[in-house]
Symmetry: C2
Subunit: 515 residues, 2 copies
Amino acid sequence: MNGAEALMRTFVDAGTDVCFMNPGTSEMHFVAALDRVPEMRGVLTLFEGVATGAADGYGRIAGRPAVALLHLGPGLGNGIANLHNARRARTPLVTVVGEHATFHQRFDAPLQSDIAALAGPVSGWVRTVAGVAGVGADTADAIAAARGGCVATLIVPADVSWSEGAAVAPLPPAPAPSTVDADRVAAAAKALRSSRAALLLGGAALREPGLLAAARAAAVTGARVLGETFPARLERGAGLPPLERIAYLPELAAQQLGGLETIVLAGAKAPVTFFGYPDTPSQPAPPGCEILAFAAPGEDVVGALAALAAEVGAGGRVDLAPVALAPAARPEAPTGRLDAGSFAAAVAATLPEDTIVVDEANTSGVGVPAATAGAPRHDLLALTGGSIGQGPPVAVGAAVAAPGRPVLNLQADGSALYTLQAWWTQAREGLDVTTVVLNNRSYAILHYELSRVGAAGDGDRARAMLNLTDPVPDHVSLARGMGLPAERAQTADDLVRLLRQAYAEPGPHLIEAVL
Amino acid sequence: MNGAEALMRTFVDAGTDVCFMNPGTSEMHFVAALDRVPEMRGVLTLFEGVATGAADGYGRIAGRPAVALLHLGPGLGNGIANLHNARRARTPLVTVVGEHATFHQRFDAPLQSDIAALAGPVSGWVRTVAGVAGVGADTADAIAAARGGCVATLIVPADVSWSEGAAVAPLPPAPAPSTVDADRVAAAAKALRSSRAALLLGGAALREPGLLAAARAAAVTGARVLGETFPARLERGAGLPPLERIAYLPELAAQQLGGLETIVLAGAKAPVTFFGYPDTPSQPAPPGCEILAFAAPGEDVVGALAALAAEVGAGGRVDLAPVALAPAARPEAPTGRLDAGSFAAAVAATLPEDTIVVDEANTSGVGVPAATAGAPRHDLLALTGGSIGQGPPVAVGAAVAAPGRPVLNLQADGSALYTLQAWWTQAREGLDVTTVVLNNRSYAILHYELSRVGAAGDGDRARAMLNLTDPVPDHVSLARGMGLPAERAQTADDLVRLLRQAYAEPGPHLIEAVL
C-alpha cells in the first residue's frame, strides 16, 4: 500500500471520511487513492480558503474532523484566513499539505517554501511525515490532536505518498477532557451567591446541556448568564434558554457588564474588545470586576456547569429551578421596504425548524438575534476569528456534515466577495444552502471604524476605499456564473417569497437582498 | 504628524506612490491619511491576493516598489500566494501589515496572530515598528530593502499609526549591485569558447541590453543562449534576439540541454524540474554538465554580460558580432475552430505594439511563444512561483504602472477563479487590460500530472477532482458581476474580432475563449 492510500484509510477508519480539496501535482496520489478508498468523499473547491472554511463548518457540526487537502506552501497560504477562524472556534480539523518529494527539496524549485513556518500560527499541532513507514501513525496522531480542538497540520512529501510500504494505523484512545475540581466549583458557587455575578459561557457551554445547567445555576443564585460575542456553535430558539451575547461595540459591552463584581468564565475567555482604540479600555468589564477562571475551553465545561448547578442547589432537574425558556414567537412576514429591520423579520418569519444559520451578516444583521430569539430551534455559527470570507465556505461544510438540515448563510457583501468560489461547490454538491447576500455596497463596518478610531481627514479619497461602488458588484450574476440559481430581492415581500421558495426546493439558492 | 501620515509621506518622497489595499480597522489611519497625502494613490482591491499580486505586477514594470496594505495576520495570509510569486520574481515590493495596538496585543483578541511568523517565508526583510518616533525610518528601510529585489514586510501597530510625533525619513542611498569580477568573466569566457556551452539568462538579463550582450557573446563563441522557464519580465518580439526558454516538461528540458558540457548562469538559477517525480532526475542538465555560477540574481548581471561580450571579442557594437534578431512576422488572423493553435495565432495576429503580456495561460497557451516570436515588441510577465491566480492581479499592477501601454492577460480558467476579484479593480480603475480566459473546463495540467506521477487508479472519482464541470463556470457572467464588459468567443473569428475591439476601446475587457 502506498503512503497516500494508508493516509486515506487511516482517516476513514477513524471516522474522518470527507476531504475538502484543492490538489496539485504533489497531491496527485491522494487524488488517485480516492478510487481505491471509496469510503472517502472528495469535495473539490475552487480556492483553498473554501476548503479550509468548509472543513471548519464540517467540524463544528459533525464534532469530528474533516480533512482539508492543500497544495504546498501557497495553497496553505490561501487557506490560512479560514484556518485562523477555525483555530479561534477550536474546531477539530486536519490539514494535509503536500510537499515536494524529499529528494527535490534541496533544489529550491519555484514552489518550494517553508510550509511548517506558515502552518505554525494557525495550528495547534504540526508534523512533517519523515518516511512512508510512519505515515499511518502520523495521520492517526494528527486526527487525535485535532479531536482535542485544534487545527492539526500534517505535511506529506510527495515521495511518501507514492512509495509503497505504508500501513494503516489505529486512532490512539482519546484522553477524557480534564474535569474541573471541587474547589473551583465551590469558588464559582460562592461568587454567584455572594456577588453581583455573571456566568460567561463559551465553546461547549453553548449547547443545550450547558445552557440549561447555567440557566439553573443562575435562576437559583440570581446571577446573570452571558455568552461570548462570536460563538463557534450556539443552540438557540424556542424552548431553549435565551442567551444575551456580549456586544461587539466596546461601549455597548461596557454597558452590559456595568455593575458586575464577578465574571465567571465557563468555556469562554475574559471579555476583550475586538480592536484596541485610543482612549478606550481593551477590557470592557468594569474596573475591579473579578474575572474568575472557572472552566477553561477544552476542559469538561458542561460537566463543570452541571456540578455548579448542583452545588448551588439547582440540582439536575429543571423543576427544581424553574428556568425561563424562550417562548415560540416570531414576527409576521414583513412587507415593504427592505432594511435591517425587515430583513431580520423576514429571516425570523420563515426560518425552518433545525436550520443551521451561518452568520456573517456583520452590520446588516444587527437585528437578527432579537428577531429570531423565539424562532424554531436552530444552530448559529458565527465569525469566530474575525477573518472575513468565512460564511460561504462554512455553509458548505455544515451542509455536508448535516445533509438532512437546511443551512442559511446570512452574508455581508464585502465578505462574500472573499470566498465566492464556495457557490460553485454548493452547486456541484447540490447542498441545501440558502444564502442571502446583504448588498449595502460598502464595507459598512469600516465606515463606523473610521470614525471610531478618531481618524481625521476622512474625506472622499478615504471613503472610496470603503465603498463597494463604481462598479457595484452584481451578486446575482456572480452566483449564476458559479452555477448557482440566484434571484434579487428589492423589497421585504420579495425576500420572504424567495426564502420560502429556496427552503421548499432542494439544493442551493442565493438571494441578493438590496438594502 | 501621526505615524500613518509619516509612513505615507516617506513612501511618496521615495517615489512609491501607489498603495494597493484591503484595509481593516487597524489600518483606518492609513486610509484617513489618503486625504492629507494626495500624492499617494490608493487602489482598493476586494481580496488581499489581488493587492499583493498587483504590487508584484507594478514592481515588475515600474522597477520600483508599490505598497500592499494588508489587515493583520489573516489579511497577510490571503496575500501570501502572490507574495510567493513576487519573491520568486525578485520584485521590489513593500507590504505594510497593520497590527493591533501594542497595549491590546496581550489580550489575544480574536484577530490576534503571529504576523511576523507568517511573513517570514515570503519576505526577504521583516520588521515590526517599535514606536511612532521610528516609523519614518523603518518605512525608508523597508523601501530600501525592497529595492534590492525582495518583499519587505513592515508590521505597524495601530497605536503607532494614530500617535503623533512621527517624522518623514529620507531613503538611504541604494548600494550599487555587486559587480562580477574579472576572474568570473574570464572563466565564463573560457567556458563559452572551449566547451559546448549555453548561457542561461534570468532576471535582469532578460531585457534588451542583457539579451543583446548575451547574443553577441554567443555569436562569437558559438555558444547557445537559453532563458529561464518562467521569467519575471522578458522583452521579446520583432527586433530583439529571440530566446529559447527551458521547457516546463522534464523530458523536453532534458532534450533541450542534451549535449551541453557547461551551463553558464547569468541571473538564473541552475535548471531544476518544477516538481520531483518518481524515476526522473530533478536536474534536467545532462550528467557531468558543469553549472558555472557566473552572475547571480541580484548582482550586476547586465554589466557582467557586457564584460563577457567584450572579453570574447564581441565588443559593445552590434556590427562587431552580427546578432540574429527576430524578424517582424506574424500569422494571418485565424478563422474556424478555436483551439490552442488558433488561439495562439489570434493573439499573435492582433497583438499591439508595446503590449505587456501577463501569461498564466498554462496548458492552453503552449503555442503562444512561437506564434508571437515575431510579433511587435512586448514584455512577457510569467508565473514565477507557480502559485496560481497571479495573472489578473499582476495585470492590475502592470496597467497601473504603465498607463499608456496595453495589457493582455492570457488566463487559464482554473487559475482565474482564484483571484477573479481583480476584475472589479480593473473596472473601477478603468485599466486598459484585455483578459482572455481560456475555458477548457478543467485543471488540464493536473490530468497530465496525474498520469505523470504514475498514479494508479485514476478513475472517475479522481478525475472529478480535476474537472471544472457540473457546473461549468460561466466566466462572462462572473466578469459582468464584477462590473467588467465581457463577451464569449466560440470561434477563432470571434476571438480575433473581440481582441481587436478590446484593444480599440479604452478600459478593461474580458473575453471567454471556449476551447
